[in-house]
Point group: C2
Chain length 476, copies 2
């Protein structure tokens, strides 16, 4: 005896006799629901959500929002109409990150080809671990990685898409220490000398998080001084390497940053590469934010020397608007280090007697088992606009940034961008019309971090931003 609740309908008879011959899901009804949802997405998220006349967010306090959303999960299902209302509500109360006035994070904007790739990925719902189960995606991932390798300046190499830049950085750490001490995989850190990592004081927090997770410990992440522009000072790096060695530690990794999180600084890679060669250290470049400058013939000089790195983490979901999550770890290695370091050779998945080249089974390169397909959206977007189109996006981001800085200087008398602790009120009032991030910085209590890289925005959006800051500043 079996109880069936037909998907999505309020059951009139809660306990229908079930027949094994009947699947639980009704396709026509389901596809209709999906079609209606698509219309809502188009109207509420993509049309209204990118319209400057509409709000960036419909701000609600958590308690109020919880009530509005009617979050509770119950025993019985709900009718389609009610569920569509839920879809609308989720859209309504979510932040419109594609809105031209969303300046809050290192992601923003929308690319429709990427989004088409994302919908297609979701619909095809597969796992990127074997060719057998993901033939198209295995090949697409390899091609996208090849394209990124070329931009780094490598003719060959290895790589993998990871769930975010922090994980990409952790992969690099794990590879670096495995290369130095392969026995670590089986024996662990016991019996080995203390390993130390070097990174700038302005680097992303994932370096410390990674050191903690990998059992290295945050104390063994040595922070190197930065110059006024936020760039790592190579002389200080060398001094700290020497000091660590003199204290009996084993330096094994320098994690450089191309595009720091707050100031957008680029570490001097060529300089650092000299030191990494001299002291035989793995050179990793966290280019999660800045990597996309490699598309630009005008700006790629910021990463001069990147081809000398051992690994590069690069998130196209940031400056290139590929959509979350899209982060690649690129490796110069050609010795299958990634697989040697991470493989567990599970026989139920990575059988060696397959009738195709098992090197196409990428799953054992990953510390994950299930791995979402994050490459198709980037491939489709890249196909759509070409490398030249992506170059244009990067160049435009730089033009925006320059324009903003110039305008701020002109308006310096009227608007003080350092607003002290009234920041809360500011945010609440500003939220509807725009969103901008802030950050305590040195002696200033709060400093605005305006992120203006979206290909969607134009001069008038930046003028709007400056006018809003002035207006809100005066009203305080």
């Amino acid at each position: 005896m079996f109880v069936e609740i037909t998907a999505g309908t309020q059951p009139k008879e809660p306990a229908l006799l079930h027949d094994l011959n009947e699947p639980l899901i009704e396709h026509a009804e389901g596809q209709l629901f999906l079609t209606e949802t698509f219309k809502i997405i188009l109207e509420e998220v993509l049309c209204k959500g990118t319209d400057v006349k509409e709000k960036v967010c419909e701000w609600k306090e958590p308690e109020e929002l919880a009530v509005l959303l009617d979050l509770e999960l119950r025993d019985t299902g709900e009718p389609q109409g009610k569920l569509l209302k839920r879809v609308k509500d989720v859209a309504k109360y979510s932040i419109k990150t594609s809105h031209p006035r969303f300046f809050n994070q290192l992601f923003a904007g929308v690319d429709y080809h990427s989004m088409a790739g994302r919908f297609l990925t979701e619909a095809l719902n597969t796992n990127l671990y074997t060719y057998e189960i993901a033939p198209v995606f295995v090949l697409v991932e390899a091609e996208v990685l090849r394209g990124m390798h070329r931009l780094v300046g490598w003719t060959e190499g290895d790589g993998i898409f990871c769930p975010g830049g922090s994980i990409s950085n952790m992969y690099a750490m794990n590879l670096a220490r495995y290369q130095l001490f392969p026995e670590i995989k089986s024996r662990g850190l016991w019996g080995l000398p203390r390993l130390t990592i070097f990174t700038s004081a302005e680097s992303h927090y994932s370096v410390k998080k990674g050191a903690a997770l990998l059992g290295i410990g945050t104390d063994h992440v040595i922070l190197v001084k930065v110059d006024d522009g936020g760039r790592m000072i190579p002389e200080d790096l060398e001094e700290k390497i020497k000091l660590a060695k003199s204290e009996g530690s084993v330096p094994f990794l320098v994690s450089c940053t191309s595009g720091t999180t707050v100031k957008g600084a680029f570490d001097p890679l060529d300089h650092i590469a000299n030191l990494c060669e001299k002291y035989m250290l793995w050179m990793h470049v966290d280019a999660a934010w800045g990597g996309s400058v490699l598309f630009s013939s005008k700006h790629r000089h910021l990463m001069k020397g990147v081809d000398r790195a051992n690994s590069v983490a690069w998130n196209p979901h940031k400056m290139l608007v590929a959509g979350l999550q899209c982060s690649a770890l690129l490796l110069r290695d050609t010795t299958n280090l990634l697989k040697r370091c991470h493989s567990a050779s599970a026989t139920y998945l990575f059988q060696q007697d397959k009738f195709y080249d098992v090197n196409l089974d990428t799953g054992d390169k990953s510390v994950q088992c299930s791995r979402k397909v994050d490459c198709l959206k980037l491939w489709l977007m890249w196909k759509a606009v070409g490398s030249a189109g992506l170059e244009a996006r990067v160049d435009k981001a730089f033009i925006h940034a320059r324009y903003l800085v110039e305008q701020m200087k002109k308006r310096e008398d009227n608007s003080h961008l350092i607003l002290k602790s009234q920041i809360f009120n500011f945010f609440m009032e500003a939220c509807g019309t725009m969103m901008v991030g802030y950050q305590p910085q040195e002696n200033r209590v709060n400093f605005f971090r305006v992120v203006a890289f979206s290909p969607l925005i134009s001069q008038k959006d930046m003028d709007f931003f400056l006018n809003e800051i002035e207006r809100l500043g005066k009203n305080m």
Copy 2:
């Protein structure tokens, strides 16, 4: 001077003069492309892809497929028509994991409400780290976790969605050792005694992968014997704990399995919980595959004792058909262990002077920074069919499994399910009509792993499976 390549159109004049007032993306055109893509998804992936008269896959050798897809990334973009052809090709040559004859992996099938949630998530494109940037999703995640907690048998607790079950298991490992030795976060493993993990010989390979990544080493994962059903033998566990202690190691974690990858076995949790209490070990349950039985009043006895665990990893993207990726780590802890263990307190993101309760900013509970929203699809699906509907899916999966076993016994003379090394030929012929996994097992060279949990399938799909095996077996 600035070069613009309009998104997706073959530029007639490659170098247009760029105006800061013009965004790079044309919304109407983009939305049209997305709409056309949606139609292709509906037709090719969802209608044909679930039709038993259509193939599960259009198998191509890698070299041939690479040519068919025209993978190369070029400098210039492509016209919309060509891009839509690409969308069609990706759909055509991908495996139809929603097809009723796809028996290959621990995921399969389609749920349209979940898919609606996934499309909405993609369109809203945000990051699950602060309430400010993801107000709806922060609340939805908390509610879904509450629902899962209740099913485990906890009235409170903590948790987080991770990118896959392997990462969920690694989180549990990291939390367990941090609870025992909090200084590990800053000082690393040096100076600490050898830590050991216990798990069954049939457990998932991610336990070893995690031990390697965390610096513990695979040698310190002690494999406990299993009985004929693939379940961990508690007596052997106790012996091995004692042995490890006598050798100077510090046991800290038992990773039990609810639903092993190959045999689907459930470890005796209550028994193991007794030992974990006796020896003061963290009890983790890898219920990535089996966790969904908690919805079923008929089958939840398989996980009796789970409420005594410290942590549970559970992937609704498997038996519940929520779509990849959807994996929750659930914790009994109420002392904010997750945040204490993983926080880096980055001031640019997790400001403490916000005007809402900063405990809603979940980002510092994660080892990631960017974290994809994986909860909305599950919430919407759960709302759609209710707990009773999800219970029905689980119960149906068990009925399917029983039916298959009975039928196999009846047909034992005709079909030998152990096909030896001709497996390659078998796979190639079978691929078009169905997909099934295999695995070397003990003295049998290959054993079929039939995964029959999709709510889409019916008795005739299983009959088809059995007939196909017979037919192909005879033709060999």
